[in-house]
Amino acid sequence: MFQKVLIANRGEIALRVIRACKELGVRTLAVYSEADVDSLHVQLADEAICIGAAASLESYLRIDRIMSAAEIGDVDAIHPGYGFLAENPHFVEVCESCNIKFIGPSSGAMQSMGDKNAARAAARKAGVPVTPGSDGIIETEDEAMKIAKKLGYPVMIKAAAGGGGRGMRAAHNEPSLTSAFHSARHEAQKAFGNDQVYLEKLIVNPRHIEFQIMADSHGHVVHLGERDCSIQRRNQKVIEECPSAVMTASLRRKMGNAAVKLAKSVGYENAGTIEFLVDQDRHFYFMEMNTRIQVEHTVTEEVYGCDLVKEQIRIAAGQPLSQHIAHAEPRLHAIQCRINAEDPANNFQPTPGRIDFYYAPGGRGVRIDSHVYTGYTVPPYYDSLIAKIITIGSTRINAIDRMRRALDEYYITGIKTTVPFHAAMMRNGDFRDGNYDTGLIDRLISAGKLSLSTRPIRLHE
């Protein structure tokens, strides 16, 4: 087992990794920007080193400073969390050349699956169904036009270097294809520094179902079931569940096997997630692979009874897959709501600032993963996630009602948060019926169908 791990991240995931390390008896070194001096993960880590100014480009993305800190701190391994450098193959190579273990896949495996277009090719090769689309990068608008015509509209133009729902443009008919093609390339260039795009058939109102895989360094790969992440706002996940309300035992077996096969074919190691789109006839198509731990790993943990981050560290240290993970069986139902520092009544505008009072719900079956506290100032430089609330229940409806109960106790003042939005979702008929797709939220919002009532609570003032 490692002596010391450097956590190359911030916020709730840095805290998550530090907790796993402490339970494993591993010392922790936090790196932080000047904006995160008072962050909880910095305070809880055994050691902490400031690596730069607030902007991510000056700190959390500075490979040179992170490696300096790793050298000074004499660490054995680095956990990249999610975002930042977590899916940067060059960073993995730097770690490899410095003899510091990167807690994740090899740079080769990351490269194969990180390029979205190459990942589709790997999936096709492994016999995994992929969304019908172009065979590779599309260079010209004429090429795009030809392929789109063959596939049939609507189509989606996607960035090869993309991810996180960005660098994508839909075209519903031929006249709109050209502008969609050029905007997608433009956004891809800006967001990822790479304007290569490919084309996919746009599956209308799909469900986004992803499979968690875990692979050790001895060739053993398993899947830990699915998560349904169809509740999205502008292609960003907001609510995730495990298991999926539309899953059947046989579909889970087919999709799970496809996920494991694909991971094995690229020599994948450590935690990863294979994302599929499932259409209304329950056909599934490989979409992309995330070569890191994900924000929503929590719901899998609750249902499969495991600690995925500890397992990541164990695997990186060379241990074989734990028995309880290799033979995990699902039990109960879990839901996660992502609480963001955003104002749901004001187009989800980000609301950084000081949290005057923070009270998190508790009680049976409620889990909170959060780095914030009373008096903490949410900085404006990073993503707006301030907490994840996860509830479990014996049935899906019980998990939903428990989440409704817990959200009604969640008290955060000083800034606006998305708690009222989630409270409204837990009461929404379509959501409760399990009858939804990736377009639900945007439809509800544009139809003004979400009533955001603030419940008066006399906890403070």
Binding site: I49, C50, S68
Partner: protein, 153 residues
């Protein structure tokens, strides 16, 4: 008065300025200190409390403020901070003299120290001009981004 006390008085003066306090008084371990901000800046009065039966001698009331304290409160200080993460070295090698000592004048291009990061020795320039007043970082010890290395008068 020993250097530790002067350091303590300096930090009290900084705190007073920061929080806009006009008077600060403390009494402990046989001495009393009162700092008062007037138009010309903080003034210090130090006296030992009169001991009724003891043989300790009290300095005369209204004693001159110690020269060091006067120097601290009247001159603004600049800091040279680390632009990177690494190990701080005062000299180019173990057997050469340090780049700077207290009292050495520096200009913007004066090399004041080396910070070693990933086996690369980076020469750090003063980027300010003045005289080195204090060395804040320890030779051979790690420094982080933004850490104060020298105080410059």
């Amino acid at each position: 008065m020993d250097p530790k006390d002067i350091k303590e008085i300096k930090s009290i003066i900084d705190l007073m300025k920061k929080h806009d306090l006009s008077v600060f008084e403390i009494e402990k371990e046989g001495f009393r200190l009162k700092l008062q901000r007037g138009a010309s800046g903080p003034q210090a009065t130090v006296s030992a409390p009169a001991v009724a039966t003891g043989t300790a001698k009290a300095p005369s009331a209204g004693a001159e403020p110690p020269p060091a304290a006067k120097a601290i409160e009247s001159v603004p200080m600049k800091e040279i901070v680390s632009p990177m993460v690494g190990t701080f070295y005062r000299a180019a090698s173990p057997d050469t003299p340090p780049f700077v000592e207290v009292g050495k004048p520096v200009t913007e291009d004066t090399v004041v120290c080396i910070i070693e990061a990933m086996k690369v020795m980076n020469e750090i320039k003063a980027e300010t001009s003045g005289v080195i007043a204090e060395v804040l970082a320890d030779n051979g010890k790690p420094v982080q981004f933004g850490q104060a290395l020298f105080r410059v008068r």
